[in-house]
């Protein structure tokens, strides 16, 4: 073995660079796997280490309304027993800076003195957090200061209370950075909430309590006997372990998705390796024939070159791993905003070694198939060049079959490591196989077409270029696959992103109004209305909202009904608080699916008519004619389901699960949403200021601001997507180089012969140009067509949204990929122009 190793090492001298180029095809795949696996391991570890800080305690309790008396009593008894309990109440409010008059909708977080129970809040100036309860001060997100043109020391009004901005919160455990983009946060002490008078009837707020248990207490076991009390009061409980597992699962999903991209890159790299090694084998015929003459057996020869391939694969994979570690350090820049923890980046030996091992294995297994041909090189080739028939009998070679089977098994096993379960792994393998199959079929089609169209009528250079696509030992298939796959990934990512953005544009753009007032109390509605009209603007809609819960269905209470229809009593559709409306007409965003719209006048004594959105009706297992009794803030309202609607939730209009006739709810306690169409930005700001001055509890949103906010979030997601797209684009490059370099020698010989026979450099150039243009166009177009299918499927099944094509952009991507093929092709063939006829013929 040692002498063979020595021989392999010496013999590889001149081939190392070339082999390394082929093997670098796998580097990007390895880099992706190492980067994402390391990052996922880092993140999961950080989550485990910081999980208490993320949750704010060992246990968190949350509810949509103020905690019920039994729950409050429980917290009090805990406090008495020495168990710390702290509270956070989160609600939306307009914030106004007194000095500038600027207003903005914010998320107010009112906290008790000891919050959070774990982790540290970073503020500027330092220590400001500790003083929160002492005075009426507020700590705010830095983005709010910018949005309101405010500074530390300014007064900030929230509802009827005024606070001094005492500093900014740089970091608070548990909130991902992106949370601030959704709504800038204002932190105040809970004792000032009452002074704001913002938590009035119907206000939306989230009430949360966190508890710190004595060390060594298992939160899950400790809370088990108390769960029923909380469940009855609609309080959701999360233990530190549950939160930890939820987050770790999320990270796991993300890393699996990116891991799949890495795996695809690796497999594509494998194809690059195979085509490169195929060409390498052609160059080694003479040397192998000599070795065979000197007594080397077929297997010895195979071993010598397999050792070389594995060694270069190791170098390629190690290079990839180094790159991966570099990317791992850069990933927090792209993803950090979306993570709830500060990720401590450390080297992950297991991710690095498994990445390298997988890379070497993929390189070796893909190289082995072409290398097997070396065993069949006859020693007779030393005497006669025509004795070289290395491809003969390939189909009958059991070793080729064995290696092919091993290769397929490896792909399936690798897919399994990235999939949630065997089924997903199977579909993933199937997806890759189908994509490769379609691309390979497109290549075969191109070869067939090329054979047919290269007729004498065509100009010579074009004919010769097209003939190159189907001549023996062409690389049409591998180039089309490499290019097609790259185009496919880039174009799919782009189409999905464009579709999501377009969907959002439609949602916001379709709305006729641009200023939305909400939390408008019944007695404030006229005031808001006249405020808008007096400014010369139009009120488009004023929609009443009544909150309610289900009391009875067909005469049975919720637990009994749930038992009867076989759904859990805690099921959201049964337990949730419904925010419903009343009106006598159906609106543009709704379609009647079944039944009839409300009769003009109610029948005295009969239940009121009711219209439900079709999915909620399915979830409640109710149909036309069923009776539902609603608890409308203590008053029972009987209804009979008389119509079922489909609602276009994509429209930025107030939409509802349950709609009642006016007579049913006119007298119920209610609040309103008012939608106005305002024609200038300055008017929008002025109206917001006036509204908050007159009605401090009323919140308003400038829809164009929401659009800006969402665009900002989408932009951050898009950065991550663009990174992936760039990566997909990049991973095609070494593969293309390998595939093109594979035929370089034949091309050189042929071009030089052509030159010797009188072809000009320009003619030779045009031949190459027409060949690569055809290859590039077909590969890119095949990828583009595939990406349409994939993007359509993703939009339909993952995002459940309609798909619209973006042909111009997709064509631009295809053109870019085709140009890349052209550039790489011409770059790799530059020797054709440089070498003189004599030089090459002497070789």
């Amino acid at each position: 073995m040692l002498p063979l190793l020595r021989l392999a090492w010496r013999e590889s001298r001149t081939a190392r660079r070339r082999l390394l180029l082929f093997m670098s095809s796998i580097s990007l795949g390895v880099a992706a796997l190492v980067a994402i696996d390391s990052f996922a391991a880092n993140t999961t570890r950080s989550i485990r280490e910081q999980s208490r800080a993320i949750l704010g305690g060992d246990l968190a309790f949350s509810a949509r309304q103020a905690f019920a008396p039994p729950v409050v009593a429980l917290f009090d008894s805990l406090r008495t027993a020495g168990v710390p309990v702290e509270h956070v109440t989160t609600f939306g409010s307009m914030a106004t800076v007194t000095r500038t008059g600027a207003t903005r909708l914010t998320q107010v977080r009112a906290v008790t003195a000891g919050y959070p129970l774990y982790g540290d809040v970073v503020t500027v100036p330092t220590g400001a957090w500790a003083g929160l309860s002492a005075r009426a001060i507020a700590l705010v997100d830095p983005s709010l200061l910018i949005a309101l043109d405010a500074q530390v020391g300014d007064s900030l009004s929230l509802g009827f209370a005024t606070f001094v901005i005492a500093g900014v919160v740089e970091q608070i455990p548990g909130d991902p950075g992106v949370a601030a983009a959704i709504g800038p946060r204002v932190f105040i002490a809970e004792r000032w909430v009452a002074a704001t008078q913002l938590l009035t009837f119907g206000s939306r707020a989230e009430y949360e309590a966190v508890v710190k248990l004595p060390p060594e207490t298992a939160p899950g076991r400790w809370i088990a006997p108390l769960r029923p009390t909380f469940r009855e009061s609609d309080v959701r409980i999360r233990t530190v372990n549950e939160r930890e597992n939820d987050l770790a699962d999320g990270i796991g999903q993300l890393s699996k998705f990116i891991g799949v991209v890495g795996l695809v890159a690796l497999l594509l790299g494998g194809i690059g390796v195979a085509s490169g090694v195929h060409a390498f084998v052609q160059r080694k015929v003479e040397t192998v024939a000599i070795l065979r003459c000197l007594g080397a057996t077929g297997w010895q020869v195979l071993l010598v070159y397999a050792i070389q391939a594995a060694a270069m694969g190791l170098v390629g994979a190690t290079g990839g791993a180094v790159l991966g570690v570099g990317i791992q350090y850069a990933l927090p820049l792209a993803l950090g905003d979306f993570l709830p923890v500060d990720v401590a980046i450390t080297l992950e030996p297991s991710a690095i070694f498994s990445g390298i091992a997988i890379g070497v294995w993929v390189a070796l297994i893909f190289a082995l198939r072409p290398l097997l041909a070396l065993r069949r090189i006859s020693p007779l080739a030393t005497l006669r060049r025509d004795a070289v028939t290395i491809d003969a009998a390939r189909r009958r070679d059991p070793a080729t079959w064995a290696v092919t089977a091993l290769l397929a098994t490896s792909v399936v096993l690798l897919a399994m490591t990235r999939a949630e379960n065997a089924e997903e792994g199977f579909y993933f393998t199937l997806g890759i196989a189908a994509t490769l199959g379609i691309l390979a079929a497109s290549a075969l089609l191109l070869i067939g077409v090329a054979r047919r169209v290269s007729r004498p009528g065509l100009p010579y250079v074009l004919r010769q270029g097209i003939a190159n696509l189907h001549r023996p030992a062409n690389q049409t298939t591998s180039v089309v696959i490499a290019l097609g796959f790259g185009a496919f990934l880039v174009s799919t990512l782009y189409l999905v992103q464009a579709n999501l953005l377009q969907q959002f544009d439609r949602t916001v753009g379709a709305s006729r109004g641009n200023l939305l007032f909400f939390d408008v109390q019944d007695d404030q509605r006229r005031g808001v209305d006249s405020l808008v009209r007096n400014a010369g603007q139009a009120v488009l809609q004023s929609v009443p909202i009544v909150t309610m819960r289900i009391q009875l269905i067909n005469g049975k209470d919720v637990p009994a009904y749930a038992r009867e229809v076989g759904i859990p009593p805690s099921y959201w559709a049964l337990r949730r608080e419904y925010r419903s409306t009343y009106r006598d007409t159906i609106v543009a965003t709704e379609t009647l699916l079944d039944g009839e719209w409300f009769a003009p006048a109610p029948v005295a004594g009969a239940p009121f008519e009711l219209s439900l959105e079709h999915e909620v009706a399915e979830n409640l297992r109710v149909g036309l004619g069923d009776e539902i009794t609603w608890d409308v803030q203590g008053v029972a309202v009987r209804t009979r389901l008389t119509s079922i609607r489909e609602v276009d939730w994509g429209q930025f209009e107030p939409n509802f699960f349950a709609v009642f006739p006016t007579a049913a709810l006119r007298e119920a306690p209610q609040q309103h949403i008012v939608l106005a169409a305002v024609n200038a930005d300055t008017t929008v700001a002025r109206l917001q200021r006036q509204a908050v001055a007159r009605f401090p509890n009323v919140s308003s949103i400038d829809l164009s601001l929401i659009r800006g906010t969402i665009t900002q979030i989408v932009e951050r997601v898009a950065t991550a997507v663009r990174f992936l797209a760039l990566f997909s684009f990049a991973m095609g490059i070494p593969v293309l180089f390998s595939a093109v370099a594979a035929t370089r020698r034949d091309r050189l010989r042929e071009s030089v012969l052509l030159k010797a026979l009188g072809a000009s450099r320009a003619q030779v150039g045009r031949i190459l140009l027409s060949e690569y243009a055809a290859l590039g166009m077909l590969g890119a177009l095949a990828g583009m067509v595939l990406s349409y299918g994939a993007a359509w499927a993703l939009m339909r099944w993952v995002f459940a949204l309609p798909f619209a094509g973006a042909p111009l952009a997709a064509l631009a991507i295809a053109a870019l990929m085709a140009s890349m093929a052209l550039v790489i092709g011409m770059l790799t063939s530059r020797d054709v122009f440089r070498v003189t006829a004599m030089e090459a013929l002497r070789e």
């Binding site: 001149t14 000599i290 070795l291 000197l294 057996t297 077929g298 297997w299 005497l383």
Partner: protein, 226 residues
């Protein structure tokens, strides 16, 4: 002893059967030096390939030092070649990526012999290339390359050395030195030498001439030099 019995070789070219060697038989005793001559297309190289076990005959037998080459698999023939056969080619056939000494080591290393390096150096010194051990083939002249090839051919102490036009690519004087080297090694090591050549003068320097024409053995005579 190298024995050829009724050797024939046919090639299939498209639908045609092409017969290039028809029932050739002869024995070559150990230590002999024999030339196979004939015009182009007479089947010389085909015969050399069969005798050396590089190819299998369509009919007949080849027995090299007791090994029935015609009946062995390719890998078994490779082992026979590694143990008992040396080659010298018209185009030298050195491995371009290996130095002179490494080229000579190859047959020894393939067999797993120890001390391959020392023996390779000794052989190269013997052919007068002691100062060129670490040169690559492209850094050597044609004559030097052929001397490396001869050193390599003798590395595994072969029973039989096959030479295909060993002077074909060399000028007259260099060719003479190569032939003298082959003769000396034949004499000192007792190796059987079978060489294929167009060169009548070179053929006459061997002990026996076997002449082929159109695939038939037409002459088998001893020369004046024994």
């Amino acid at each position: 002893m190298l024995v050829a019995r009724n050797l024939s070789k046919e090639f299939t070219s498209g639908a045609h059967q092409l017969s290039v060697l028809h029932g050739v038989s002869f024995d070559i005793p150990d230590g002999a030096c024999v030339a196979i001559v004939g015009p182009s297309g007479s089947g010389k190289t085909t015969l050399l390939g069969l005798l050396a076990g590089l190819d299998t005959p369509s009919g007949g037998e080849v027995i090299l030092d007791g090994a029935p080459l015609h009946a062995l698999s390719e890998d078994a023939r490779a082992k026979v070649r590694g143990d008992k056969v040396g080659f010298v080619f018209q185009s030298f056939q050195l491995i371009p990526t290996l130095t002179a000494v490494e080229n000579v080591q190859v047959p020894l290393e393939l067999r797993g012999d120890r001390g391959a390096g020392a023996r390779a150096r000794t052989l190269l010194e013997r052919v007068g290339l002691g100062a060129r051990l670490d040169h690559y083939p492209t850094q050597l002249s044609g004559g030097e390359q052929q001397r490396v090839a001869i050193a390599r051919a003798f590395a595994n102490r072969p029973k039989v050395l096959f030479a295909d036009e060993p002077t074909g690519n060399l000028d007259g004087a260099t060719g003479d030195r190569i032939v003298a080297l082959l003769e000396a090694l034949n004499r000192d090591e007792g190796t059987t030498i079978v060489l294929v050549t167009h060169d009548a003068a070179l053929a006459e320097r061997t002990q026996r001439v076997i002449r082929l024409r159109d695939g038939d053995l037409v002459e088998d005579r001893l020369t004046t030099r024994r």
